[in-house]
Amino acid sequence: MGELLSLAGQNLLTPMILSFALGLFAAIARSELSVPEAAAKMMSIYLLFAIGFKGGVAVAGHGLDEHLIAAMLGGIALSFLIPLLAFGLLRAMTRLSPLDAAAVAAHYGSISIVTFVTASTVLSAQGIASEGYMVAVAAAMEAPAIVSAIWLAARSGGRTGQVQMDARLWHEILLNGSIVLLVGAFLIGAVTGEAGLARIDAFVVAPFQGVLCLFLLDMGIVAGRGLRTARKVISLGVLSFGIMMPILGATLGLGVALLIGLSAGGAALMMTLAASASYIAVPAAMRVALPAANPSISLTLALGITFPFNLTFGIPAYTAVAQALIGE
């Protein structure tokens, strides 16, 4: 526990986490500091491309693990199941309507790629190896949660017009920008391997953590603004959910990782994925599918509570637990 806290402390004092804190502070103090939308989008394109590409290069180097298929299936199962658990918890702990609870549940079943990116960075800073294909697992976990959530909403007696699901939405979800970019960059990395990396490592490797700082600064600003304006919707029950759910998710993720036989690094990433909540792809899908659900509840929970929790305490804890149980 002492070691865990020191690890957490060490993690807290990195430029990344502090940049997030700075953004949070700026927004809560109502500073007008802000990052242009186009720059934020470009940074996210950069991060997705770089993390996908590096995952692909790692796979090209070490070959495909026999666990790849199992990890994909495990991730997909988690993404399907976590919303059911989240929905149950929310209905028990909060006064959210079934519709709002289903929308929130979709966010928690899906994943936050920046949390994943941060966890990867923490692992490589500590010299802990992990399976390169975990980025493909991340991509695979984006969408299934949306299916579960829509089923939950429909089952809970959504009135006509409350649940809007069609082929077009499926298409949008499965080919959403972050999935296509992540998987595409992964394949590019896998195909071009070390030779490809040699050409672009000064772009995808060297400045990566710096870009992550500025991106987290922006995430802090957006999260802080959400927290400031959504204070009314955030009851104590909702808040507790935002901290309990990632812990439960990580536990499920750990179970799956142990079942599959992932490395300690891989297990930490699987726990992070299960613990994290989407704030990019799922919100857009929910606006289309469940238009009557209040978007600010999900976003504030995912970005204002769970994201910083994972960043500060979650990731070091998941790493420590995975290492303790699996070893290096």
Partner: protein, 102 residues
């Protein structure tokens, strides 16, 4: 200068629905429209801003100038998409040059 009566329809709609709306317009035979960005706003669901956002968030404004006799077609096509969603449809009277273009 010779001008002609027309209707200017302004539809505020959530960004994830933009393509659905414009496809519906085209399906209804409305061939001309323009999409303008919206930076932020406020409504019954609170205040929002596009700043620093990454996903397809926020709203866009779709502006469509049409002959008066086509207004109902347009409104029906638009309303079918907008109905279950937040958003706003307003119609104003305008005069246009070059009516043959509409």
């Amino acid at each position: 200068m010779q001008t002609h009566s027309a209707k200017r329809v302004e539809i505020l709609i959530e960004a994830p629905l933009e393509l659905r709306l414009t496809d519906a317009l085209e399906a209804a035979g409305i061939k001309g429209f323009s999409v303008l960005p919206v930076l932020g706003g406020a409504g019954r669901s609170g205040r929002w801003s596009r700043e620093g956002q990454v996903g397809r968030t926020g709203m866009v404004a779709i502006i469509c100038v049409i002959r008066p006799e086509r207004l109902d077609t347009l409104l029906e096509a638009a309303f079918a998409v907008v109905k279950p969603h937040i958003g706003m449809v307003s119609i104003g009277d305008v005069q246009v040059l070059r009516a043959e273009r509409f």
